[in-house]
């Protein structure tokens, strides 16, 4: 492999819409950048800000949070909680000096394989343009993203 | 000799590689051929060209290839989203590279190459239309830079339109200046004839010039300039806001900044230029302006707006010979006359030329051919 910078993007997404949308991209044999790894939770409402920080801390160059369109959440309105949580998360991430384009929230339905492809490609290019994330404070926030309980 | 035809896949491959990506989408429904205005006067089936090109069968590269007036009527209706006009352009480009373009076109393209305009006009005489009328040159402080169309600069009939424009824009208190004579042809029709290199040269010249002058907002009198500046220049580095004169006029008239006081007691019929209407969705602006003119009556052709029949001047047809009885402009003038119109009004230099020629050919002295701008100037 060449030494050119390949962005590493963690996608935190819900099972019902975005994960299924990514499945549809697959069944439709669409092609997209191989720079993403999906972490599936049942609902975007499950996505703890700590997961995002942990991904950046691990070395991710970008994090995509994705779920069902507002009104379409399989659990009625879990995604509205995600939406409400997001601005604070965005601010926090920016306070850590991480550029805005490295974190993104998208609603991608089970029917929108093409949208999934579009978002992944777009974000890969945006993050590629930003270059690797040199996050000075990686260790400083280690405790922030730790799990408080054993289970 | 056998009658079997054998596909040559090099042909479609080359077309697709040259940008004609929608070639293979065509499923031969015939909507395009059925929609094309050429049926009104002669046999020309663009579907035939596409089907032959898909299979690489002889016939796609024949004389018919140069018939298409790029009016976009078929593209609007194609159920498969085939970019028919763009395919015609691409095939023309490939054929032109082999030197097989029609003779008349070659002369025009020669002038484009040496003079920067298709009319064999002197490069330095681009502002000669001004005569003794005082005009302002764009100096960076003006809101709009007015880009004179070659046809307005060198064709005496169309020069009248730009002189009328000066009066109208001044009356409306518009902040504008003329680019000033060093501009080259916008290249829209040049590109549609397949002369890609010529177009790229023109575009490079204009982009450099206009960016150098600090132009932010272009004001254009021709729908062809409008179309290419809006849709094709951005990726070549020309990222300006582009407004057609009638759009600005509609704005001035509707907002009351331009008062139309004089009655113009004409029965007018409005012709939608293909590049203003179908290509850019501007149908209401010219009609709004005309309706605001006191004493003026506005009529419509049987096929109007989205369905309007082309004047026949686009895609390089302006520079090619068409027998009188096969000219769309002739059909349209006859229809205008039958509907009792005094004047055919439009908003495109090519349309004006096509109609004036048709008028001469038919000897219809009473019927006037006018640009919206001229009607407005008369109403000031």
């Amino acid at each position: 492999m060449s030494n050119a910078f390949e962005p590493r993007i963690v996608v935190l997404c819900c099972n019902w819409c975005t994960y299924a949308g990514a499945d549809l991209a697959g069944t439709s044999r669409m092609k997209y950048a191989p720079n993403v790894r999906l972490v599936r939770v049942m609902c975007s409402g499950r996505i703890d800000p700590a997961f995002v920080l942990r991904a950046f801390q691990d070395g991710a160059d970008g994090v995509l949070i994705a779920g069902c369109h507002p009104g379409d959440c399989h659990y009625i309105n879990g995604n509205l909680k995600t939406m409400r949580r997001y601005p604070a998360l965005e601010t926090m991430v920016q306070q850590f000096g991480i550029e805005p384009h490295r974190l993104r929230l998208e609603w991608i339905s089970a029917a929108e394989g093409d949208r999934f492809v579009e978002v992944v490609n777009e974000m890969t290019e945006q993050v590629r343009a930003l270059g690797p994330l040199a996050w000075k404070q990686r260790s400083a926030v280690a405790d922030l993203s730790g799990s408080p309980h054993a289970g | 000799m056998s009658h079997y035809a054998t596909p040559m896949m090099e042909v479609p491959d080359m077309i697709v590689e040259s940008g004609g990506r929608t070639l293979d989408l065509c499923f031969q429904c015939g909507t395009c051929s059925g929609t094309c205005p050429w049926n009104l006067v002669r046999d020309f089936r663009v579907r035939d060209i596409l089907t032959r090109a898909q299979l690489g069968l002889e016939g796609y590269e024949g004389e018919d290839l140069w018939m298409c007036a790029t009016c976009n009527a078929c593209v609007d209706r194609c159920p498969q989203g085939v970019e028919i006009v763009d395919l015609v352009r691409t095939i023309r480009m490939l054929i032109a590279e082999t030197g097989a373009a029609p003779k008349t076109l070659r002369a025009v393209l020669g002038s484009v190459q040496s003079n920067g305009n298709p009319w064999s006009g002197d490069r330095n005489a681009r502002m000669a239309w001004v005569k003794d009328q005082p005009v302002r040159t764009f100096d960076g402080t003006h809101e709009y830079a007015y880009f004179t169309c070659c046809t307005q600069a060198y064709d005496p009939r169309n020069a009248k339109v730009v002189r009328a424009a000066v009066r109208v824009l001044d009356a409306g208190g518009v902040s504008y200046g003329f680019v000033g004579g060093s501009e080259a042809c916008c290249g829209d029709a040049v590109r549609k004839t397949g002369a890609e290199t010529n177009f790229q040269n023109l575009a490079a010249h204009n982009v450099g010039l206009l960016n150098g002058l600090g132009v932010k907002h272009l004001l254009v009198p021709s729908p062809h300039c409008l179309n290419t500046f809006r849709k094709e220049y951005p990726e070549l580095g020309g990222k300006w806001q582009v407004t057609h004169v009638v759009e600005l006029l509609a704005d001035l008239v509707m907002s009351g900044r331009l008062a139309l006081k004089n009655a113009v007691p004409l029965k007018t019929i409005y012709h939608d230029p293909c590049y203003l209407g179908r290509n850019n969705g501007i149908y209401d602006a010219p009609r709004d302006v005309l309706r605001a003119v006191p004493g003026l009556e506005l009529m419509e052709f049987g096929h109007t707006r989205e369905e309007a029949v082309c004047c026949g001047g686009g895609g390089g047809r302006l520079w090619m010979e068409t027998p009188v009885e096969e000219r769309f402009a002739v059909l349209k003038l006859r229809e205008a006359q039958a509907r009792g119109a005094d004047a055919v009004v439009t908003a495109c230099p090519y349309c004006i030329s096509m109609f004036e020629d048709a008028k001469t050919a038919l000897g219809l002295d009473q019927l006037q051919v006018l640009d919206v701008v001229e009607v407005v100037a008369a109403a000031l």
Binding site: R8, V10, N15, Y19, A20, A22, D23, G26, T27, R29, K31, Y32, P34, R37, V39, R40, M42, C43, G45, R46, I47, D48, A50, F51, R54, A55, D58, A60, C73, H74, Y75, I76, N77, G78, K81, A110, A111, S147, P148, H149, A150, G151 | F27, Q28, C29, G30, T31, C32, S33, G34, T35, D43, R45, R47, D48, P79, Q80, G81, G302, H303
Partner: protein, 654 residues
């Protein structure tokens, strides 16, 4: 004790192995801690593939299983079952999706192989931390809700009811029957539509196991597979159903006329009406919006003439609640708005009709009593039928409507039979794929119907010569001839596209279904489960899933009914095991979780100041888990440690 993990990598024929080097994936996995067994196999989901898993669990004493293959949405249940059969708790299984999310979406083999290794590593990381969960079952309510009373809903309802299960059928219109009731004859056999449909409609109304609610709509759906609670709004009918004898005198006497929806607005109905003469139920309803009495307080003529005194001015909408085990959605199709089809003359020329308008024109109960006539009452001498209007057209609907070619043939036959007019069909492709369909096409050729291979470009009334004066002119290229035709005719029928019902989005949302890109309801699997949806216990039947003709609709309805019945007769369903749980040691009593739970599954004990999750209500979305500021809620099967482990393993970071 350290977990003992088994990793199984599937080739899926060449679907995975054609892009991903599965051997490298196995080699990598074998080196990871706790992986005691790693193998590849051609088809993991096959019997021998599952056998491989079962055997390895026993032979290698596996305590975790990871299968790297397709999407867990496809085969997670399969492998969970295999694990369970070998005595391993099914929740100790984890799936790595290296097909939909890898081999199918990447072309670069090296990048895809590296990605596949990452995906499997993350799955192993999660598997290491998985915990066994108890599978729980609840009983299934022995009743099915059928929404929509078209032929699909009718077929399904009868099948279910005949099997001895109770059915509630909810129909929005005054009568059941749907679009099929509007048709005159049906292709390819030319049976009279009403003759074959009305007996079935009556069976529905009279079936002891079916409760029919027409003029009603589902208001809300709660619960889950096996245990839905539905609220149904029964619109006020202003006619007492128990008293009305369906004599129809009121209808006759009512002076207020409005356009009839059933007749496509081509003839009027009254303010008190039934959709059509053979409507089921036959008892009319008063349409409050049109009724003169409701508008200005005067009239009540219907009441005066109603002998049994059935009119009830104070009738109110009622909302009733039903508990059902399964829901079968059969809400049918809509039709494209023909006003967007102006180049073919619709809305411009009165003798341009849609297909459904022609059905009514040709129907004995329709506006002309079944006479095929022009707007001026005269008989057409020539008719053009234009195929694919709005179908197979990116400017409108991209899909094929699947019924138009055949109904166009049917129309051609009926026109020939009734008027002897010349009939032209303008088509792109003739799609006559069903049983007896090609034969029907042939029959029409024998009858002298003219076929032009080319789509109609436009219809105009502007005559180019004397023959065209007063005619509608259809222009089309005969692509076989290479000749553009102008064909003057008296009448034009547009085979206008079938479309999703207008409120498809709202209906989909109500029942937790998705929409396919074409706007119809999305099935669980396009080939193998076309009658199930993403929501367990919600099934699909008929044209609401995709355009269908009657034979396909009926088959689909019966299939959906049998799938619903298999759920009903199973008697119990498994409920979510991956629920949330409050760790009381950490709960600070802030109650935030209570506010965010979409299902009200969290109760707060005022005495202990602690929250508790009701496991039988919790659906496991995990919103509370992410919200709890004290980190006191664990989301089973998706707990923090598992997810963080997965993130940590998502890439080889350095």
């Amino acid at each position: 004790m350290e977990p003992r993990i088994g990793v199984f990598v599937c080739h899926c024929g060449t679907n995975i192995a054609g892009v991903v080097d599965v051997n490298r994936v196995v080699e990598a996995a074998a080196r990871w801690p706790d992986v005691v067994h790693a193998v590849e196999y051609k088809f993991m989901c096959s019997d021998p593939g599952q056998g491989l898993v079962k055997d390895a669990i026993v032979k290698h004493d596996l305590s975790r299983v990871v299968v790297a293959a397709c999407s867990p949405r496809m085969h997670e249940p399969t492998f969970r079952k295999a694990c369970a059969m070998a005595g391993l708790n099914p929740y100790l299984f984890e799936m790595a999706n290296i097909r939909e999310h890898c081999s199918w979406v990447h072309e670069d083999k090296e990048a895809a192989t590296l990605k596949a290794i990452d995906i499997v590593r993350a799955a192993v990381a999660k598997a290491r931390l998985l915990e066994p969960l108890q599978t729980r079952f609840v009983p299934v309510t022995q009743k099915v809700l059928v929404v929509g009373g078209g032929v699909a809903g009718i077929q399904a309802a009868l099948d279910i009811a005949n099997a001895g299960t109770k059915v509630v059928m909810v129909e929005r219109a005054q009568s059941i029957g749907g679009h099929m009731a509007q048709l005159d004859k049906t292709f390819p056999t030319l049976d009279c539509s009403a003759c074959i449909l009305t007996p079935k409609m009556v069976q529905v109304a009279q079936h002891p196991n079916i409760e029919l609610m027409t003029y009603s709509e589902v208001e809300s759906v709660d619960g889950f597979v096996g245990n839905f609670t539905v609220k149904i709004r029964r619109k006020a009918r202003y006619v007492d159903e128990a008293v009305c004898t369906a004599c129809g005198v009121c209808i006759e006497k009512c002076p207020k006329k409005v356009p009839s929806e059933f007749d496509e607005g081509m003839m009027p109905r009254k303010a008190i009406y039934r959709s059509f003469p053979q409507a089921v139920p036959g008892r009319p309803v008063i349409d409050k919006e049109s009724c003169t009495y409701f508008k200005n307080g005067k009239c009540k003529i219907c009441e005066i003439f109603c002998e049994p005194k059935a009119i009830r001015w104070d009738d109110q909408d009622q909302v009733v609640e039903e508990k059902v085990g399964a829901i079968l959605v059969a809400t049918g199709m809509g039709l494209i708005d023909p006003h967007g089809l102006s180049q073919w003359g619709y809305g411009r020329y009165p003798n341009v009709l849609t297909g459904l308008e022609f059905e009514r024109l040709n129907n004995a109960t329709g506006p002309t009593g079944g006479r095929i006539v022009l707007k001026d009452g005269s008989t057409p001498k020539s008719v053009a039928i234009l195929h694919c209007i709005g179908s197979r057209d990116r400017n409108h609907k991209e899909y094929c409507s699947r019924v138009c070619c055949m109904y166009a043939l049917k129309f051609a036959h009926l026109i020939k039979e009734k008027t002897h007019a010349t009939v032209y069909n303008f088509y792109i492709d003739m799609r006559c794929f069903g049983k007896g369909y090609e034969e029907f096409y042939n029959r029409l050729l024998h009858e002298g119907v003219k076929f032009v291979r080319g789509k109609a470009a436009f219809v105009t009334d502007q005559a180019a010569n004397d023959d065209e004066k007063g005619k509608l002119v259809v222009s089309a290229e005969s692509t076989t001839l290479g000749e553009v035709l102008r064909v003057p005719v008296d009448m034009v029928i547009l085979a206008s596209a079938v479309a999703p019902q207008k409120d498809a989005e709202a209906v989909a949302r109500q029942f937790g279904m998705g929409l396919s890109p074409d706007g119809f309801f999305m099935e669980k699997h396009p080939k193998l489960e076309p009658f199930s949806t993403a929501t367990d216990g919600v099934f699909l039947a008929g044209a609401c899933q995709s355009p269908k003709d009657i034979p396909d609709t009926v088959a689909h309805g019966a299939a959906a009914a049998s799938t619903a019945l298999s759920l009903i007769s199973r008697g119990t369903v498994e409920v979510e095991s991956a629920t949330a749980e409050v760790l009381t040691d950490f709960c600070s009593g802030c109650k935030v979780c209570q506010d965010v739970c979409p299902y009200g599954a969290i109760s707060f004990h005022e005495d202990t100041k602690l929250a508790e999750v009701n496991a039988s209500v919790c659906k496991g979305c995990g919103t509370c888990v992410a919200t709890c500021p004290s980190g006191a809620i664990v989301g089973r099967h998706f707990n923090d440690r598992q997810i963080l482990a997965q993130i940590d393993a998502a890439f080889l970071w350095e």
